[in-house]
Symmetry: C2
Subunit: 214 residues, 2 copies
Amino acid sequence: MTTDSPKPAATAQARPVLDFWFEFASTYSYLAAMRAEALADEHGVALRWRPFLLGPIFAAQGWSSSPFNLYPAKGRNMWRDMERQADELGLPPLARPVPFPQNGLLAARIAIVALDSGWGPDFVRAVYEAQFARGLSIAEPAVLREILGALPCDPEAVLVQAGSEPVKTALREQTEEAIAHGIFGAPSFLTADGELFWGNDRFERAVAWAARRR
Amino acid sequence: MTTDSPKPAATAQARPVLDFWFEFASTYSYLAAMRAEALADEHGVALRWRPFLLGPIFAAQGWSSSPFNLYPAKGRNMWRDMERQADELGLPPLARPVPFPQNGLLAARIAIVALDSGWGPDFVRAVYEAQFARGLSIAEPAVLREILGALPCDPEAVLVQAGSEPVKTALREQTEEAIAHGIFGAPSFLTADGELFWGNDRFERAVAWAARRR
């Protein structure tokens, strides 16, 4: 083996890791998910996709719903901003799922299963597209079953696994880990050296921070 | 007069206007204020500086303080994010005024007076620097008097005018106008065609929007 022979495995391992924490009900997590891989690749950063639930975090802050519902002026501005940014990113016209926020529990449990396979990010993007480009209810098992049907898996087996105790526990623990890291909203980005960035608008900075610490 | 002679007055009038709504206590308004003129000039946009008070808006939402105090994880992240962005912009290391948020009422009244003169933006930047670069209390008349002393004005006359009924009324009306425009946080940017952008991280988009609608 010559010294300049390619070592793809070692190169892949050498990529700095950035944890991408997302919640399926979160509008700005949608924007982040749709551009995540291109942005990470551009900076040579390896993304770790980390689904979690905002519900328990919001409840602990005394919020019974999304702040975008609790504070109407903030909500109106968010929906308009989402329209503008979806347009800017070349995404389909924004659809507003009813109700908002959607219950993303089952989708998040499936994501735990999916992210152990090769089609995890494809599943995540498909759920966001169903919700925010097609306006479908991602709390509906039928919607998730349809998404799984287009992916290289056995949908029924995945649904059974998603309902198993180890997966339920894994999602619960992941949410507790998010709280322990000081995460309070989604999307959030955490570098290996502990820098926390909140919001899709901080994604570039998070990736750049991870890349320079390689 | 030849047809290609410069018409500076007409050119200045033709610049599209962007309203820059800011609150002195707001950390991200500081970042926006420090880069506002360069960004607006770059896009050929005329900025209208609009001081207002967030206190009445927060109170109407049931908040007794800044959300950065009410939600500690959000607050910790904001201060760290501000440190990172101050560094990125080449600003001095961030100082945290005590208490936070500062009472910006007197500074905002002075700004109403100052923005009718030629040194309005200089006053605004000096107040933000005193607060977030030097950690001074901008509720202190002595701090504001010192700032005015370095500007081309009669500080005592300005302070008297800032305490007059017309100025108090003007600031109150400006805050009511902000609410009527759907403004719920600072900084906010409003284009002539009614597009509202919230946050320092939307400043580039707001300026670009204003510029393309010229």
